[in-house]
Structure formats: C-alpha cells, structure tokens
C-alpha cells in the first residue's frame, strides 16, 4: 500500500464559490458612465470645496454627502508617490515588474492609484508629470481600465511642495 492510503488525511481541499452582483453605487456609477465617454469626473466637497476624484458618495472627512455638479478634469497630473512591484499577485494580470503609482490629476485634490508605462524603471521619480494613455476609443467601457496606464510627459517636475500634502 502507498503511504497515501495508510496515512491519515491531513488537509482537505474545499472549494468555495459564491456569486454576487456587485453594485458600484450611485456616485461611482456617474463617474463610470463618464469615463465610458472618455471624461474624468470629480466632485467638490460641499464643506471645503476640495475636488474628490473619482466622484464618491461622501466626503469622508466631513461625513457629508457629495451631490453637487461634477467637475471635469484633464487627463494630466503629477506622480505623487510610487512603488516598483516585482512580486506576482493572483488577481493582477500585469507583467512584472510594473510601477504602481499614485497620480494627482491637475485640478483634483485626491490621488488615484494606477500604473505607469512607457518609462524606464530607473527614471521613475516623485513629482514626474504624467498623462493618461487611453485604450482605443472603440474599447471604452464603464471601467477605469479605459486608461491603460499613465505615461511620462516631457515637462519639468512639479515642485515637492505642490503635492507633498497628498502623500
């Protein structure tokens, strides 16, 4: 008899599969419908006027609903901070290594997380100016994935003081 047949079982494999219908919520849906058309929408906090990007249901700082008119933002911004990821992750289909970035879009007061492309790893740095690289228009959907990645802009770096509050 093989060892397997004589030894007590130690570990069982137990599959769990649950189906959900994920619901983005009212505010995020507004953002997603706009990005389907290539528009980037933020919204102002009713208390201090800061522009939250993407739109969200509440200003977390004040616990107030954000329901005013959206603010359209350009697809350029500043790389606030980043990490070069060299470790695989089950849910992330990106080729390693990749640069995970936090980008402060021009006119926004909150950062978005995305990745950087078309850039030598050695040259990535804080304060870089970047622009969104979009998928071909015919592939646009209600997803942040319409932006493939950000690419460096040929512009002088943003001054540290201009973005240090967003790290």
């Amino acid at each position: 008899m093989s060892d397997e047949a004589t030894e007590d079982l130690r570990v069982l494999r137990m599959p769990v599969e649950l189906d959900y219908t994920y619901s983005a919520g009212r505010s995020a849906s507004r953002f997603l419908r706009a990005i389907q058309e290539g528009k980037l929408l933020g919204q102002r906090c009713p208390v201090d006027g800061k522009v939250y990007f993407p739109t969200r249901g509440a200003c977390p700082q004040h616990g107030m609903p954000i329901d005013g008119e959206p603010v359209e933002l350009p697809d350029t911004g500043t790389l606030v901070t980043y990490s070069i990821v060299r470790v695989p992750s089950a849910n992330i289909p990106l080729e390693l290594p990749y640069v995970a970035v936090q980008v402060l879009l021009d006119g926004a007061d909150t950062v978005m997380m995305h990745v950087l492309g078309e850039c030598d790893l050695e040259t990535v740095h804080m304060g870089m100016r970047v622009r969104a690289k979009w998928k071909p228009k015919e592939e646009w959907s209600t997803s942040v994935a319409n932006i493939l990645y950000f690419v460096p802009l040929d512009e002088p770096d943003a001054a540290y003081d201009s973005y240090k509050e967003h790290i």
Partner: protein, 350 residues
C-alpha cells in the same frame, strides 16, 4: 452600574434590492437623520462602534468604508464587530460603563441582495463536516421548524399567526418591507418554500442600515426629552452543533433574559429579530413574555430583515416606543448564527 440610555434612533427603509446606492450611500442619510433628530455633532462622540459582515459584500474589509459616512475627522475612538449592530451597541455600552465615554454612536449596515443570502449563510456552518454540504439558511431553519412541529412544541397555525400579526403591525411602519393584511387560512393553503416552511414563515432579504445614539445620564438630557434607559443587556452564545442543542427552545435567550431582568416587571413592548416565524415563537417563549406584551409593533424581522442592522433596529424601535410614551418598559432582541445560536436581550425603561 452607570445609567445608559438610547437617546436617538434612525433607520433606512428595508428594500429587497437597493438599486441605486452602495452601503455608504445607504448609511449617510441614516446618520444625517440621527444628527438632525438629536443634534449631536462629531465632537460629542467619544466612541463609535459598528457591525457588518464582509461576506455580505463579497469583499474583505467591507466595513472600512463605513467610516466615510461618519466623517471620522478628527480621528475618533472606534471599533467594529463582525456581528449585528446590536453587539456593537453592547460594546459601546461597556465603554460607557467603564467611564471611557459618555456619548457613543452605533450603526449597522448590510446589503445582502448582492449575493445569494441563504447560500452565503452556509459559510457560517462547521467548515469540516457541515458546510461542504451547503445547507442554505432556509433549509437549516426548516429542520428546526419541523422538530418544533413534530415535537408538538407549536403548530403551523401558530407560525402563520405570528407572520400575520407582524405584517399587520408593519402597515404603520414606513421602514418595513413586507406589510399588509394576510389571513391565516390563506397562508396555510400556500405551498411550501422549503417544507415545512412557507414563504410567509421567512423574513425577507433586505438591504438597509440603522443607527443609535447612546448616552450616559450625564449627557442623555442633551439629546432626548425622554431617554430609553437600558436596565439590562446580556447576550449568550450556544455551541453551534445542531445535534447537541435542544432546537425546540432557545436556551441562550432564556439565560440572557434572566440575566437582563426581563421578568422583573411588566413588558409593554417586545421587538424581536427572529428571522423565521417558528423562531419568533421560541424567542417569545424564551423571554417569558405574557399576553399583555405587544410583540413586534414595528413588524419585527419578518417585516424587514436588513442583516447586521436588524438587531440594532429592534433596540431602536423598542426605545422609540418608550421615548414617544407608548411604552414604559420594553425588551429588544437580536440573534446570530444558525437556529438562534447566539442571542442578545436588552431591557429598556422610560
């Protein structure tokens, strides 16, 4: 013991499927309403506690976003239980007892419509010998119901009567999901959903949120003209294994009721969170309620069951009836786990 009272309560409407809003968007108006009703500001909050479950949302750390609705800035003293908000209220009550806080905000929220709730609940069962069989929550409750029926502990007519009563009460509750005039004969002639349970024996699946403001006697008067004082609050957990428990009674409710002092006086109103009609009867008996108690004037869980918020809402509903003068003494109940595994009992007085 310090005197602690429920000084404010708000809740969302229970909906079978909230199509527009995510959890934070459900919660925000509930907290706004509480703020307006009591006049509290974040500066008053010395403790915040919430209840929710990651598995309802299908993602880890689903509760974190709840803080967005609070506006937790400057930072707040805050905790979270992976339980119904009723247990979050218990934790807040403990903090007030120890003198850590005088005013606490408690909330619970859930959006179970995103998943297949009865099957999601199978994940609560022993993961080695029970869960791999995927018994859905309705089937598990049905096993208990049949034990009650076969054992002569109750009749299906009594179960139907509980459902009729709750749904009739719910007509006056604008937050209820299932309300109306039903008749016992009609219900008994309906087919089984999972035999021996009919649709009417089961609570609906509900999306929703609820919130309560708690205050010690030092501060209660600042928020409410007639606070609902917590005179006893206790919760007990039984072993889960269905075979070792007597499923035809709720031992943990009995123990909690005794410790909370339910029997020390007449109970005008009882708000029960039992999700199935037979469980409502078991809880009613476990609490030792008499004919002079109005059970579930709001309709209870059978009229709306926003998981993780429903137990807290029962405490809020009971308190609201004291605050509006309808009741002098009330009891509220919350439950968790298969077949009433864990139960919380809260006695409130004017």
């Amino acid at each position: 013991m310090r005197d602690v009272a429920v000084v404010g309560f708000s809740q969302s409407v229970s909906l079978r499927r909230e199509r527009n809003r995510n959890e934070v968007e459900i919660l925000i108006p509930v907290l706004q309403e509480l703020r307006e009703a009591t006049g509290y500001t974040n500066e008053d909050l010395e403790f915040v506690c919430s209840g929710s479950s990651d598995y309802l949302a299908g993602q880890a750390f689903a509760f974190v976003a709840g803080l967005d609705a609070v506006g937790a800035w400057p930072p707040v003293c805050e905790s979270h239980v992976e339980m119904d908000g009723a247990w979050a209220l218990y934790e807040a009550w403990v903090k007030i007892q120890m003198g850590y806080a005088d005013v606490a905000l408690v909330y619970g929220f859930g959006k179970p419509s995103m998943g297949d709730l009865p099957i999601t609940m199978a994940l609560q069962l022993d993961p080695y010998t029970v869960m791999p069989l995927w018994p859905d929550a309705i089937s598990v409750a049905a096993l208990q119901a049949r034990l009650c029926l076969d054992g002569g502990v109750m009749t299906d007519r009594q179960m139907a009567e509980a459902a009729v009563r709750d749904r009739a009460h719910a007509k006056s509750n604008p937050h209820a999901q299932v309300a109306g005039d039903f008749d016992v004969e009609g219900i008994l002639s309906e087919p089984y959903l999972v035999s021996p349970l009919r649709k009417h024996d089961c609570s609906p699946i509900s999306d929703g949120a609820s919130a309560v403001l708690l205050a010690s006697s030092n501060r209660a008067g600042d928020f409410s003209k007639r606070p609902a004082w917590i005179r006893g609050i206790e919760h007990i957990c039984e072993p889960q294994d269905l075979g070792v428990r007597d499923l035809t009674r709720s031992r943990s409710t009995e123990i909690a009721a005794e410790k909370a002092g339910v029997g020390a006086g007449r109970i005008d109103v009882a708000e029960l969170s039992a999700p199935f009609s037979h469980q409502e009867i078991l809880v009613e008996r476990g609490l030792g309620l008499g004919a002079d108690t109005t059970v579930n004037p709001s309709g209870g869980a059978l009229a709306g069951n926003p998981l993780m918020a429903v137990g807290l809402a029962r405490i809020g509903e009971a308190a609201a009836r004291i605050t509006n003068g309808e009741a002098e003494r009330a009891v509220a109940h919350a439950t968790s786990g298969p077949c009433l595994q864990q139960n919380l009992v809260c006695v409130l007085e004017g």
